[in-house]
């Protein structure tokens, strides 16, 4: 077991290193952080720009391999370098992870729980009205991309607020910095409403489809019949035997979603103006921020691999058939 874990860890470290390096090279060769300084009024002297860029390890006059060397050395010691305007990438990342976590934890959990429940109901009532309604709704929702959904939600809220004459539901930003104490807390919650809806609706639709299919697979299996032959009610047999078994595959998806959620909410974050990890993905490219691009890549790679590991663990925990003795 220990040896296996070590090997897996080693492979993952290599994968992350390659991914981050590739992203760094790509960004370093194609992006132009100099542009941010060149067009300024009043113009900045080239020597000054060079000095600044050198300090941030962003100078395109330095050979790319040398820059890469400096960056890599930093990363190994846990320092991801500077952002385009000199801030610490580490600090930025820490702050943004917290923002994303706050937003996404709720959305993901709600999406999973509601989705699984709806999917199970749908499967049990196969071809009945409930099933059809859930099915059609999730189909429609899955066909609406997040950015359309988020925009729609924002428009609706805007109109609602305008109609009411005051801001019932906030639709941009994370909180109102002017408030404090309990009010601030309430305000934060209010700011969470729309992003959470926009995030979880898609997840609900997705999980309900998956869970329905898994349940249907299980429903016709012999062990459900055995459970009923024992004298259990259909309901009990379904929840106790079928649902429990059908949860295994859904849980692996869940683990994946959990790991990738940080960068998965790019659109929601951008549209509702939250400065989380997902928004950073877009911001860093727009700002020609080489070190941030590499850091985001590094972070997503770690998340994906961690998610894979988590889903394996979850399956092992839920399914005695794969549990390691």
């Amino acid at each position: 077991m220990g040896r296996y874990l070590l090997r897996r860890l080693a492979i993952n470290v290599i994968l992350v290193a390659i991914a981050a390096s590739l992203a760094y090279m790509l960004a370093a060769t194609t992006m132009n952080p100099r542009g941010a300084y060149e067009g300024r009024q009043p113009p900045v002297a080239e020597a000054v720009i060079d000095a600044t860029l050198d300090e941030y390890n962003l100078n395109d006059k330095t050979p790319v391999l040398v820059r890469y060397g400096t960056w890599a050395k930093g990363v190994i010691t846990g320092d991801f370098g500077r952002t385009w305007n000199g801030g610490s990438v580490n600090n930025e990342m820490g702050r943004r992870i917290m923002v994303s976590l706050r937003l996404l934890l709720i959305g993901t959990l709600v999406g999973f729980a509601v989705g699984v429940a709806l999917g199970a109901i749908s499967a049990v009532k196969q071809y009945k009205l409930t099933d059809r309604f859930i099915g059609v709704s999730s189909f429609v929702i899955m066909a609406v991309p997040v950015f359309v959904l988020a925009t729609l939600l924002a428009i609706a809220t805007y109109n609602l607020n305008r109609g009411l004459g005051f801001s019932l539901i906030e639709y941009t930003g994370e909180y109102n910095p002017r408030l404090s104490g309990f009010d601030q807390f309430l305000n934060r919650l209010n700011h969470l409403i729309l992003p959470t809806i926009s995030l979880s609706l898609g997840l609900i639709a997705f999980y309900s489809r998956i869970q329905r299919n898994m349940m249907l697979d299980v429903l016709n299996q012999d062990f459900v019949r055995t459970a009923m032959a024992k004298g259990l009610r259909r309901r009990t047999a379904l929840t106790k035997h079928a649902l429990r078994t059908a949860l295994i595959p859904a849980a692996t998806y869940f683990a994946f979603a959990f790991g990738t959620m940080f960068t998965g909410a790019t659109f929601t974050e951008k549209i509702f103006a939250w400065h989380g990890m997902g928004a950073w993905l877009v911001d860093s490219i727009n700002q020609n921020d080489v070190n941030s691009v590499a850091a985001v890549t590094f972070f997503t790679a770690v998340c994906v691999l961690f998610a894979a590991f988590l889903s394996d663990l979850l399956v092992a925990a839920l399914d005695p058939r794969v549990r390691v003795s």
């Binding site: 997040v146 359309v148 925009t151 729609l152 960068t263 993905l281 877009v282 490219i285 997503t300």
Partner: protein, 280 residues
């Protein structure tokens, strides 16, 4: 023979029937619609900026006086083409890589799956976003298709691989081995055709995935580059002014949703029709 059975089952399936009808209508609208409209998508009407739908401009006009009807259909053409191309390329790639990895096993498998893992770990959105705006030459959208396809085949190829692993032990494959048929031939004659249900479904769902993916990247300006348009660029444009000029947003967004919905419906119907175990 079998395809006839599948088609019959497909059309007995209500979802798939509506999906197909909707898709046919949408494709017809995208490609035949522009001939009906009074304006070309490149025309600019300097007398009507941001005019609401009605009159001459059926779906209104944009900030620079383009006819929304013409522009939207043009954008839809692009989205449809991109969707189909990406789906075909990525599913084909997935089938070949997965089948070879699964059938040959050993180091072939290891190398290919390692590549798959690496691609999965790379944030595709970010890579495409960095590369694609820098491809401004004439056929840049074709490169864009290649990029999208390059990042959307990995999961399927893993599924293909694991199914190949079980197909490999099937007796008809063993029979072919014992007849002395070369391995690559077995892959193309016995393995890939028997994965066709999975591949067809996957390709269908990849179409909608690619349409959404394109729109998503274009939404941030990382996809189709102006002056070319796609549903994504139009939605991006429209969402900025959505509260004041809803038609800029409503038409492209509505068509995108319809397009994705119809393809998904077909995909789901295909799943039922191709799966001999299902009884719908």
């Amino acid at each position: 023979m079998r395809s006839k059975v599948v088609l019959r089952r497909l059309f007995r399936n209500k979802q798939a029937r509506y999906g197909t009808i909707a898709l046919v209508v949408l494709v017809a609208l995208a490609y035949l619609g522009p001939f009906v409209g009074p304006y070309d998508w490149t025309d600019k009407d300097f007398l009507a900026f941001l005019s609401p739908p009605g009159g001459d401009h059926w779906w209104g006009t944009t900030t620079i006086g383009q006819d929304m009807y013409a522009v939207t259909l043009r954008g839809m053409q692009k989205s449809i083409i991109i969707g189909f191309l990406v789906a075909i390329i990525s599913t084909g790639l997935a089938a070949i890589v997965g089948a070879f990895a699964g059938y040959f096993g050993g180091w072939v498998d290891k190398v290919l799956m390692w590549g798959v893992d690496l691609l999965l770990v790379l944030p595709s959105f970010l890579i495409i976003a960095i590369i694609s705006p820098r491809l401004r030459e004439g056929a840049s959208w074709l490169w864009f298709v290649v990029l999208l396809a390059a990042f959307s085949w990995m999961i399927t190829s893993r599924v293909v691989r694991s199914m190949t692993l079980s197909l490999r032990e099937r007796e008809y494959v063993l029979a072919a081995v014992y007849m002395g048929i070369p391995r690559w031939k077995i892959i193309f004659r016995h393995i890939v055709p028997n994965l066709s249900s999975l591949l067809i479904i996957d390709a269908t769902l990849n179409v909608s995935g690619a349409v959404i993916g394109e729109a998503a990247l274009s939404f941030f300006g990382f996809g189709i580059q102006p002056p070319d348009v796609s549903l994504g660029t139009l939605i991006a444009e429209g969402s900025r002014n959505a509260t004041g000029y809803p038609w800029l947003f409503a038409f492209p967004a509505g068509l995108l949703v319809l397009l994705v919905l119809s393809v998904n419906l077909i995909g789901d119907g295909l799943r039922d029709a191709l799966d001999p175990g299902s009884n719908s």
